[in-house]
Symmetry: D2
């Protein structure tokens, strides 16, 4: 049995130094956050590891956009699975809009009249949608031949005027999956075109071939879940084909006792064959918008 | 200002009587659960109201299957949006399998060897998937002409041998939507067929026409969210086209401070135009597997 | 392995009937709430069982007062441990005040000016404190000879004009403990007298003799925790002297991963000797203001 | 309206630099954690500010001991309120024991046989209690004249052989309050002496004079709550006498919807007069064992 080390704070610690201290407790919250950094670092340094990143939640409204862009640009992420909301908010910023500092106690009826939509204390101007309409209307021809969701998303990336999640995925050929893309502002833009009689032929199942093929052929899989929902579950189901992930990091505040996928501890995946019995993994119980900047700062400091 | 009534328990209360008592506190948890029953009852009695029901979470593994079937058979649900996991677990039971009482502290590696997959303390036999393979393999011809996900799901329902969520939806012509169907065991079955060279032509965006059309044309929309995720958000985005729901019930344990859709209070929807300013609505902070049986028992007692 | 029974709702179920159905799932939330009812019933029917009840949280502001009174009057509770807040709010009602239905989004500065204090969406008039001042000022002589907190609390009960938690405890000689009584409105009243030069001689440790003696001498201990905090922990530490509880029910939404006592699962108590390895126990993850009325209604229906 | 700044991670950031970036989002989790650092810094730099620190939760078992010691030694904390568990675990370490890295899935009955008590994945040897017995037995004379809990705690500090929370409080004359001291291992030690016929005369209410006097006479109060429970509430009730705190930081994962004190947002305190309407304050929704090392590292870097 190893005694618990108590975290010592010295005067000007780097983020990585602090996280090393936290990891050395090896228990409860600090130990887990520290271990997440260390596992992420190990995934990156293991050249055999293919990293699957799943992201759900209000990442752009909460100021996480640059971190997501940076993670994708780093070339350490091999497969990216996301909600449509993430891509919609990101596209809004790439088209020149901002999200704004708001008030969670605001009068929502007044916000509605002002054309602001609210996500807790973060606002987005509703007129974002008009600009997006233009973007899709103008470029529709390019989308007509997309056969699967990844192609559709890469095409958005190709056409996006500025740096964006999808632009980076397109440029770096990072496979990006969004099974529920119709459940998003981008989905609504497509519907708007369909309502005007335009066509699109994106197959709802076609992307599965690619993600399952990557899972099947990779030497070692590593999974990182920022939040739950479809992104986590879609990667998890592909892990059965990888014979189980070697590495796992999950950050969520959902809990396991309800039996759902989002809150399930990674360990549960061993019964499904989604995680190797000997895998190195950690469940961090934390708001992603707190954990992610810290983890990424520490990882970035450590890797070359 | 009204004083808070303290709940009085008498010797043999019916569920509806108890919930009336709880509602009369009008505050905190009891008041909210009671109000949920009362709003649900009002939605049903309002002939102009079209009820949109979104369900996420481990509903079949937790013993909620009969309640879901009963809700759909009652003809009070006009639109049903669900995760693929829900439909997969339900199909498993309709094909003759059961879920089993398990142990959340079980050794997952041993479960894996025994062919049991775990959802907290509920197990499912992995061989469910073989039987599903047969089901889809045998019936594939029927799926080849499905153009959207709803048709695909109704076709499953048509072919299912026993009573099931999708069978009822098919028989009663209840529009059923599952935007992330590829993210499920059913999705994996389709992939299995694609991998063998079979074809399917389900369009990822096509269903939006129908749900948005229902939202657009209904007199009054009422929304019920059991859990968050895609089912909630997919209905929420359609509400912008209904000019805002008149009634709303949300049951979730996720919290609003993270800014995500799953935890967002219904009130936030007013800024988006998803909920009328004058709507009657309630957020219940509770495990759905506790709240749902209680709510449905009380509602069933009250309605004719 | 037993298959999971799916809850069936029939037209006019009593609360106990519904909870029997819920218990029969034996998994996740429904199974646990149902099991709590069944264990509570068993504790009552086991004549050898001494029931220790710990209550924390906003029970009076949320409309739970009558249920607490009823539980104590039922003579099934042998030891009662509570927060001081509970006793303060209860005394306020016994002195003729009410709590009021409020609004969680109210302007707190305005409430302050109106003399209303807020607990989420429940209000209490601040002038409660004046009436309490009178109560203690007038009756001070009676308190001067109290040597421990229980005597102090029973004395309040004796002097309280109407039915109250403490009045019932006094009348029925139910040992009532509140280790942190100074942390409450009642504590402030005592301070008010001390500030005026009055004396009181209540010993901070003296009550431990009695609760530990009850734990030591009882045949079988059963514990019920509504919320965590001091009430739970104070009973838990006494359980080490009972050689471990035979029965346990815990209702809380706090979680175990932080390592604190309030969220610790009951099972953890086995390592401490606070719970027997073979105990019958359940952790229910639920808002107490939702779970308690349901549990008490079902239990009351079942017991004679 | 200010646009949301997206956090930029550069190669080797100090903790303070990262937290500045996080603060600049000004929304959701990152913004709040960053603001907590900035408010803590401001409290320290405001020479008129008296800082009240309340700590609950498993701080020593989770590796937070050195941080707590460092905070007290820094002389920035003016009043310290804690649970008895905190003091018990701390005394165990000061008497030469360690806590150990354990396993949350351990067999609790086996741990019990091995003499290990479990707090999630952290263990403590049960023989700690024997050494504590010796400590109190040997030194009992010193405790007999203590009249209030603070004197009792300072006396423990005076007699503790090594650096400890209470030793520092005694040496630096930091008022330390623990209203529920009887609810702890230390409480059990006192009971052990009482059971042997020894006497102690600690008054349960006497400390209120001192904490309310500090609140009454301080120029500006600032409050920091790490977790809820008695420490938070005991400081909160004293704030009514300070005419409301000027600064507030709360870190908890409990939620406001249940109406209890632990989860109440700081804003609620404005209705009670516990917080000034114009106060600078923040509620951080986070595991304290994650937030505290980060906050303290950043604060320590910034202050002189």
């Amino acid at each position: 049995m190893k005694p618990i080390h108590h975290i010592k704070i010295s005067k000007r610690m780097s983020v990585s130094q602090l996280l090393k201290e936290m990891e050395s407790t090896n228990v409860i919250g600090s130990g887990r956050l520290g271990r997440a950094v260390s596992i992420f670092e190990q995934m990156i340094n293991d050249r055999d590891c293919t990293i699957f990143l799943g992201i759900a939640g209000a990442m752009v409204p909460s100021g996480m956009r640059e971190i997501m862009l940076d993670m994708l640009e780093s070339e350490h992420i091999d497969v990216f699975v996301t909600t449509g909301a993430n891509l919609t908010h990101d596209l809004a910023e790439a088209l020149g809009f901002s999200h704004y500092q708001g008030d969670e106690n605001a009068d929502d009826a007044k916000l509605n009249k002002k054309g602001l939509v609210r996500m807790y204390d973060s606002y987005m101007p509703a007129k974002v949608y008009e600009k997006m309409e233009d973007f899709f209307e103008k470029n529709w021809k390019e989308f007509e031949n997309c056969n699967n969701i990844k192609e559709f998303l890469w095409t958005i990336g190709k056409l996006t005027p500025k740096r964006s999640l999808l632009k980076i995925c397109h440029e770096k050929k990072i496979p990006v999956f969004c099974p529920a893309i119709s459940d998003s502002g981008i989905g609504l833009m497509v519907w708007g075109r369909l309502a005007k009689g335009k066509k699109i032929n994106v197959n709802a199942f076609e992307d599965m071939k690619e993600i399952l093929d990557i899972a099947w052929t990779c030497k070692k899989a590593g999974v990182i879940y920022l939040g739950g929902g479809v992104p986590k579950n879609y990667i998890q189901q592909s892990m059965q084909f990888s014979k189980g992930a070697y590495y796992g990091i999950q950050i969520t505040t959902d809990r396991e006792e309800y039996g759902g996928s989002s809150g399930a501890k990674l360990k549960e995946g061993i019964s499904w064959g989604k995680l190797k019995e000997k895998a190195r993994y950690v469940d961090v119980i934390c708001d992603v918008t707190i954990a992610l900047p810290i983890i990424w700062a520490a990882v970035k400091e450590r890797i070359k």
